[in-house]
Symmetry: C2
Subunit: 186 residues, 2 copies
């Protein structure tokens, strides 16, 4: 799940971590279109998608822009707000009926204070998402809209089948019309 990609870690330490995290995880069912977080408020939770799809989005010049998708086993939050404890410009909504596990900021930080050795895993998590973001920047800078779309088709075909094209379009930084034309070409 959240720590699944980690390598080179102490097995027993990780087992403890997972057990402790279990304690602060809350599982809940939500239905499609429900909001996990609303813009203008501070985001107090990190969400893990057990089943379903969520997307974070914000408004730019009246347009709805998707910033991130999370499907099964993925995580989502209004990360800047969660980190900096300030109001968020992001919304998080569910695109399907979902099973969500949430971890509150408060609980997580309490746990980190009690067991500072867990800081390491948060660091590893951050390193991972940092690298993912860096890759996204390169993608935007050096691949055409068409290449970005094709990469998505290749890497996350499952996602493509499950979300509206307008969200895919804004996610890769193009208009819906351009995406439509890209798709019909080929």
């Amino acid at each position: 799940m959240i720590f699944e990609k980690l390598e080179n870690v102490n097995e027993s330490d990780l087992a403890n971590l997972l057990a402790d995290f279990q304690q602060i995880m809350k599982k809940e069912s939500f239905s499609k279109k429900e909001m996990l977080h609303k813009e203008g408020t501070i985001c107090n939770h990190l969400f893990l998608i057990e089943k379903g799809i969520a997307r974070s989005f914000y408004h730019k010049d009246g347009k709805d822009i998707t910033a991130h998708f999370a499907i099964e086993n993925g995580t989502i939050t209004a990360i800047d707000s969660f980190i900096q404890r300030k109001r968020s410009r992001y919304n998080i909504e569910l695109l399907e009926d979902s099973e969500i596990i949430s971890i509150s900021h408060q609980d997580m930080h309490k746990l980190l204070q009690e067991k500072p050795s867990y800081e390491k895993y948060i660091r590893l998590f951050l390193e991972q998402i940092y690298i993912d973001l860096a890759e996204r920047i390169e993608d935007l800078l050096f691949h055409s809209a068409k290449e970005r779309y094709e990469k998505l088709v290749k890497n996350t075909p499952n996602l493509l089948r499950r979300v509206h094209l307008k969200h895919i379009a804004s996610f890769i930084g193009i208009t819906q019309e351009t995406l439509s034309r890209i798709r019909t070409q080929t």
Copy 2:
């Protein structure tokens, strides 16, 4: 310096941290055009710029693309390589004669193992650079080349005066010619 932006931290803990980090920092002078890191190798150092300018760049279709600049008080490294311990596609070169402080990956991790409480500061550092990166993505997605340039002029006029325009151009994802035209318009 590296931890200067941190808020809400324990003062004495931070003082200890700084003292310990001092121990593993090595200061060196380099002259313009020297390389702090070369692509194809694993990057073993985090560099702090005490004086001067460095840029990281890589090659894409034969073109030289600037990924990041660091001036006085900034940090630079081939972050993906430094984190994942794999060979880097990035180079780091100096654009002026510089005074550089370097911290080796090994020393840093040894320090973190000895004093796991410092993990927290690394996490805070990562949070900060993650947010900076996220901002850059928004910038690329929703601002025109002209807006991106003007933002740079506003935020880091000092940088603009000190580096070649071709580097600025690739940094904001446009060609040198387009940047030139943007500049002469206004």
